[in-house]
Amino acid sequence: MAAILLASCAKQKPGSEFVVKIGSVAPLTGPQSHLGKDNDNGVRLAAEEINASGLVIGGKKTRIEVLSEDDQADPRTATIVAQKLVDEGVNGVVGHFNSGTSIPASRIYSDAGIPQISPSATATTYTGQGFETTFRVVTNDRQQGEALAKFAVGTLHARTIAIIDDRTAYGQGIADEFEKDAKAEGAALVAHEFTSDHATDFTAILTSIKGKNPDLIFYGGMDAQAGPMMKQMRNLGMKMAFLGADGSKSPEFIKLAGASAEGAYASAPGLPLDKMPGGKAFVERFTAKYGKIQLYSPYSFDATMALVNAMKQAGSTDPSRYLPALSKIKMDGVTGPISFDSKGDIMHGAVTLYQVRNGSWIALP
């Protein structure tokens, strides 16, 4: 029987393969391009591995084609590339990278009925819009903000806190969640300052915070700002604790902050790479092809796998036919078990806290 199947496969011409298009959207240029490329590589690795092992959906031999788009981390560009992907007839989308881009794009995918799984958008509003096609494989900011506040007040014993955010959907979202939860834990907020996701000069706001001398500074934003911010903080002689969220927790942060990075804290959704069920094997496969993992490539890998598994279960690549299978999916991914709640959020999302020690991020117990 197997021999017959193999023989029939062999007879099939390579050109007659069925193609399923998966869109991968992230900022591939600009300050966050290293993170965006990381996500894109996760999708590509998944597609290559699936193609190499042979994919059959609904009895038809199928090949995955990845369509990568650059949204420049810009909400307006995000809607343009989302529409472009819809017009090109993608079967599913992994992305976008940022919350600020995933949210406006989700309406376009929802209107077209195309499932979208973000590997990294953590803002609570992303899945709170009531779209059936919107999913994420990463812990959201409400859960993360709560864990960060518990850590700041409970573990680090911070009584007074200053917050800086970059006024993006992500930065402001996580900062607001943190502020709310930290106040609930009993800490006093002494300042809430603002910057932008293109800023490099933080001396003015840091000086103003310095005058209020808080126990801890929390930054809601990305590593390209967090790194220089930490450096400028130490140059100003500010010795208080620095806490960031997942956007700050990258090797890039340490590179940019240099020696000043030592002792910084940050959280990240999910488990540390070496504690992920499939982490070790993933690191080997990924680094062999693309080099160092930045942040979310294991998640974009899992998001791609979830889309393809749902297609396999439904026996169809038609978005309307495999969407029900996707919302009920249960699979073991690299990052842990993948299944979604009624909103499209990942179930049992974990949060881990890290500290920079001797020039690298170490997971705190």
């Binding site: 490099t200 001396t203 103003s208 390209a224 220089p228 400028q232 140059n235 100003l236 002689g237």
Partner: protein, 307 residues
């Protein structure tokens, strides 16, 4: 009081960088009435070249200030060359074209330089090696770091040098003559093309120094850093009176201090209604206010439109 002093120092440091860049805008505008929008990107080239050289030498065992010196001495000729080429290729053929044409070309050159830098140095933020000691001096409760001193001192020296060059030398005479009336200057034996080239080269040298300062101070450089910086410096030049050398210096310093103070005190002054998110709004508000009462800037003179 400590905080106030510290914000003032921050502002002066930021302002002296703005001043250097603003001088580049003002020099070119004064001589040929062109707003060179690619000037900010020449600052970026200066930052990138300094960064590359510094990275190469970071582990050579040479003392930090020397490495930074070598870096900026490499960046200055590199930027001078870029400035010269930009003028020669993009602006000179349009010397007698309608005013809008060179303006559009300037924006084109800016995009071109950014994309070339992206290809050469990549898209990520590049970190500047910590080569200067991070030690700070305490002055009346505020702290001043070595790099801040270097920035203010070298920018003062460069500005003084430029003033001397414009006021006291034959070259300066020729530049002022060209600014007043290119045709008459030609009749007096001034080679206007050479003077314009020299102006661009001078502005680019200042830009290279500013690029070194920005990247060493903030510890970071990337390919599109020139855009916002250029815009701020242009604002500073307009604030002081575009075309006026002292105006650019004053405008730069003023804008730096206003921004610093705005970010530091806006929240307290307005009772939390406007926070540091209005930092830039505040700076532009001051600009508009100045332009309402002095349309040609703080030190600018009212001049008739050029024929």
């Amino acid at each position: 009081m400590d905080t106030f002093l510290q914000q003032l120092i921050n502002g002066i440091v930021l302002g002296s960088i703005y001043s250097l860049v603003a001088l580049g805008y003002t020099l070119v505008y004064g001589i040929m009435g062109l707003i060179n929008f690619a000037h900010g990107d020449i600052v970026m080239v200066g930052a990138m070249v300094t960064l590359t050289v510094t990275r190469l030498l970071a582990n050579s065992g040479l003392p930090g200030p020397l490495i930074l010196g070598i870096g900026v001495l490499t960046a200055i000729p590199a930027c001078m060359a870029v400035g010269y080429l930009v003028e020669r290729i993009a602006y000179r053929p349009l010397r007698n074209a309608p005013r809008l044409a060179p303006l559009i070309t300037a924006i084109g050159v800016s995009i071109l330089l950014q994309n070339l830098a992206m290809m050469l140095w990549g898209r990520e933020y590049l970190s500047f090696p910590q080569i200067l000691p991070a030690q700070t001096m305490a002055v009346g409760g505020a702290s001043i770091s070595t790099i801040q001193l270097v920035i203010v001192a070298s920018s003062c020296i460069m500005m003084a040098g430029l003033s001397w060059l414009i006021r006291k030398t034959r070259l300066g005479n020729a530049m002022r003559a060209t600014a007043q009336n290119p045709e008459v200057a030609t009749l007096m034996g001034v080679n206007v093309n050479t003077i314009i080239s020299i102006t661009f080269v001078l502005g680019s040298a200042l830009a290279a120094t500013a690029g070194m300062m920005v990247s060493a101070y903030y510890g970071i450089a990337h390919y599109d850093m020139g855009f916002i910086l250029g815009l701020k410096a242009f604002t500073a030049a307009v604030l002081g009176g575009i075309g006026n050398i002292e105006g650019a210096m004053l405008g730069g310093l003023l804008l730096g201090v206003i921004e610093s103070m705005g970010a530091g005190y806006l929240g307290t002054l307005t009772g939390g209604i406007m926070g540091s998110n209005y930092q830039d709004v505040f700076a532009f508000f001051v600009l508009i206010l100045v332009l309402v009462f002095r349309p040609s800037g703080l030190l600018g003179e009212r001049v008739g439109e050029r024929p």
